[in-house]
């Protein structure tokens, strides 16, 4: 719903206020939870389900789990996602086939949920898997439903058993039973019974569905539900569970733009797994259900989550620890420098990654100016060095520098400036690692959130550097940043248009092992000589 904006946007707003805080207070959590509640309701998740869900999230968010983490805001998002996937996909499974064919599959649902179309899709899907399904026309209620099934059947290349003309004539229970018999005779290994649409409150028709179930003893009863359904999903699902006790759920019309909160409601209220998703009018628009995709669809958190994941993978803690250790021993070399840079690149395109950060809009220009190829060039220069040179940059005399410049396709000036910057950075890091505050003339306060977000971790790192156990893992970069600023040049462009994007960029990234924050990037850029 365009009118309310996505949850990502709204959560960004909430997180922005959190950027100076290291821990989440109960009030912070409540704010976040309120947004999540609103978003779930907008996504048509049933109220009771929303209440239970947000209560769980709140509890977990306030637990130790979060307070120990470096970036609680991210953690909350992760909790939400885990819970969502847990409910949606806890019991994902495939169709169960009978030991003695035919396997009987019965379809049930409200009018217009898409049962008849689904019957065709399911049949075609089964044919592809090497089964020989038979469609049974037990919807004798809706005008010409029998015809429709016949057309769908012929499109799918599957025979249809339709002894009754429909339009209110004939007994659907008898038809269903006869259909199973027919399948047994003609050696079909799967029978799909299409039934009439019925309302949950219609006791008479519900009884009929129950009778069909009793008569045919199906292996699977699939409840077909429209992804666009609202709060009524719960009442309907409960009615059908009581009425026919379905074994699995099919979500139809997922190709629309509804958030599909019904999936969460139904899965959570009935505990029945969602097996398939139907995503279009063509007979091939049919796929197994993916809980993770549904979770991000409902809450629209895909981007934040991808980012967290990528950053976590790329910047593993161990590496960060090693760097911290080296720093303490004053052994930071060009090799480490290169490695750090490669880790950054491993996180995927930096531009893309920054773009994914909610609230990154404010730093768009910044992003445009940032040339990723700078990293590649720096890499090239370092990789053109011998291991000995990387360990000890003091070796680099004129002729070596010329060789390196040639090898990397750069000029000697480029090599010189890189070495110079590295040395300054290394010096700065040593100071920081020793626990001293680097004396930097004219530095003043580090612009923006330098101290709010990252700065805090730098200070922390400084405090207990010898332990090396600090998760900040950032002192290297931190020092590098200081170095960059110390160079006296104009404060990196990043500092100027900070504002909104800044806090957030830092907020999401300050998690120690997360991606580069804006100021770090700016520093990096500086370091690279631009």
């Amino acid at each position: 719903m365009a009118t309310f904006g996505t949850l990502s946007d709204r959560l960004s707003e909430t997180f922005k206020q959190l950027r100076t805080k290291g821990k989440l207070s109960a009030a912070d959590v409540d704010g976040t939870v309120r947004e999540i509640r609103r978003a779930l309701l907008d996504a048509d998740v049933a109220l009771d389900v929303v209440k239970a869900f947000t209560a769980t999230v709140r509890e977990r968010a306030l637990g130790d789990e979060v307070n120990k983490a470096l970036n609680p805001a991210q953690q909350v998002v992760q909790i939400v996602n885990e819970e969502l996937v847990g409910i949606l996909g806890g019991q994902q499974r495939r169709l169960q086939f009978a030991k003695n064919p035919p396997t009987v599959i019965m379809l049930a649902g409200l009018q217009g949920a898409g049962k008849t179309t689904l019957a065709g899709k399911l049949a075609k899907h089964l044919v592809k898997e090497g089964h020989t399904p038979l469609l049974v026309a037990s919807d004798l209620q809706r005008p010409n439903a029998v015809n429709q099934l016949q057309v769908v059947g012929s499109q799918a290349g599957v025979p249809v058993f339709a002894p009754e003309p429909g339009n209110g004539v004939g007994d659907p229970v008898k038809v269903a039973k006869a259909g199973v018999e027919q399948a047994r005779r003609a050696l079909h290994d799967v029978v799909i019974i299409d039934t009439a649409g019925r309302l949950g409150v219609d006791a008479e028709l519900m009884k009929q569905a129950a009778n069909i179930r009793k008569a045919t003893d199906p292996d699977e009863v699939l409840f077909v539900i429209d992804a666009m359904i609202g709060q009524d999903a719960v009442a309907t699902a409960k009615a059908f569970q009581e009425g026919v006790d379905f074994t699995g759920v099919v979500l139809s019309k997922l190709d629309g733009d509804s958030k599909g909160g019904a999936a969460l409601s139904v899965a959570s209220v009935t505990g029945r797994p969602i097996i398939f998703a139907s995503t279009g009018e063509g007979l091939d628009d049919f796929e197994p259900f993916h809980p993770d995709r549904m979770a991000s669809r409902i809450l629209d958190l895909g981007d934040i989550l991808t980012l967290i994941e990528q950053a976590q993978q790329a910047f593993d803690e161990e590496e960060a620890l090693k760097v911290a250790e080296k720093l303490a021993k004053e052994q930071f070399t060009l090799e480490d420098f290169l490695q750090q840079m490669q880790q950054l690149r491993g996180a995927g395109s930096i531009k893309k990654m920054l773009g994914m950060l909610p609230g990154a809009g404010g730093m768009k220009q910044q992003l445009e100016n940032f040339d990723e190829r700078e990293i590649v060039r720096t890499e090239a220069i370092i990789q053109s060095m011998t291991p000995a040179e990387r360990q000890n940059p003091k070796l680099l005399n004129g002729s070596r520098r010329l060789r390196i410049a040639r090898g990397s396709g750069m000029t000697v000036t480029d090599v010189n400036s890189l070495v110079q910057r590295f040395e300054q950075a290394a010096k700065m890091m040593k100071t920081v690692a020793r626990g001293g505050m680097p004396q930097i003339p004219g530095m003043g306060p580090i612009p923006g959130a330098g101290f709010g977000g990252g700065g805090a971790s730098a200070r922390k790192a400084k405090g207990k550097k010898k332990s090396g156990g600090s998760r900040s893992g950032n002192p290297a970069k931190r020092a590098a940043e200081n170095a960059a600023i110390a160079q006296g040049g104009p404060v990196p462009g990043g500092a100027a248009p900070t504002g909104a994007g800044f806090g957030l960029g830092g907020g999401a990234a300050k998690g120690g092992q997360a991606g580069p924050s804006e100021e770090e990037l700016a520093a990096l850029q500086k370091l690279l000589g631009r």
């Binding site: 309302l199 409150v201 429209d226 709060q231 009524d232 509804s258």
Partner: protein, 291 residues
């Protein structure tokens, strides 16, 4: 049949109105009831705030006042728009549109019958040439309603041409009202929405279109709003039909739809029988909804 009136919010609200006084629980319960009826979080907040301020202003503590206020608020909001069908043109062309499975064809059958009871001559056009057996389904309804039908000449014929032929025939025969069935289409499918625009343009070459009715399923949730906006943009919708009110869904989202799009609800469908379609009256609707 099982309780027909389960559509009402009555049972959800009984706890509130039956209570002795108005307290925090009243508001929580009211909010819960409205959200459960698909009013959506935004509208719910507005309504609750509105009633809350009224309660403060009048310093009442009687929950029955809340009931009355709720009824009035809902009615007032619903009554902002004119639910009258405009069918004065001859022939009056009515285009029926909506997403898949909301009950377009059924609505047309019932609507044709509804018009027949006022002694109007009606012809229906089966321009849903996409879905399997949709034409036959409409033919069955046409027969039940006792009205004429124009079928496509061959399978998969361009729906716009069927619509064109229907209007042409109506003009030739002097039929008063033309109702055209269209294929269900999700509002997110650009190509299909364009097709709708084409049907409109082609029909307008013959006669002006009096009404474009968007059929909305009462079980739909907040997505109904997105549907209405898209159909308004591409199909020039002039009114809403709310169907499947015989179930347990309350269709509260129509309030938001009306207010966001300015489209009035014109008809409501409450069953599969041919007589189960009525005009929309805000007062009756609010009365039934709130109880």
């Amino acid at each position: 049949m099982a309780e027909r009136a389960s559509w009402s919010l009555g049972s959800a609200l009984r706890g509130i109105f039956g209570a002795r006084t108005i307290d925090e629980d009243t508001w929580d319960d009211l909010e819960a009831a409205l959200i459960t009826a698909d009013f959506g979080p935004a509208v719910t907040e507005e309504i609750v705030a509105q009633i809350r301020s009224q309660v403060e202003r009048f310093k009442t503590t009687d929950p029955r006042d809340v009931q009355r206020m709720l009824r009035e608020v809902v009615e007032e909001r619903l009554a902002k728009y004119d639910p009258t069908l405009k069918l004065t043109e001859r022939p009056a062309v009515v285009l029926v549109v909506g997403v898949n499975g909301v009950g377009k064809t059924t609505t047309i059958g019932k609507f044709a019958r509804f018009l027949r009871t006022f002694d109007r001559s009606v012809v229906v056009g089966a321009a849903d040439t996409f879905r399997a057996a949709a034409v036959d389904q409409l033919a069955t309804w046409a027969e039940r309603a006792g009205v004429g039908i124009v079928r496509p000449e061959r399978e998969g014929q361009d729906p716009a041409s069927v619509a064109f032929q229907t209007v042409e025939r109506a003009k030739r025969d002097g039929t008063e009202i033309v109702i055209i069935d269209t294929a269900g289409r999700l509002h997110t499918k650009g190509g299909l929405m364009d097709e709708l625009g084409k049907i409109k343009r082609v029909v307008e070459k013959q006669a002006p279109i009096s009404e474009v009715l968007l059929v909305l399923d009462a079980t739909t949730g907040q997505n109904g709003l997105a549907q209405a906006e898209a159909f308004l943009e591409h199909g020039g919708v002039t009114g809403l039909v709310l169907t499947k009110l015989d179930g347990s869904a309350k269709g509260g989202f129509v309030l938001a739809v009306q207010e966001k799009t300015g489209l009035p609800i014109k008809l409501i469908g409450q069953g599969e029988g041919i007589g189960d379609l009525t005009g929309f009256t805000p007062h009756v609707f609010a009365q039934k909804l709130v109880g």
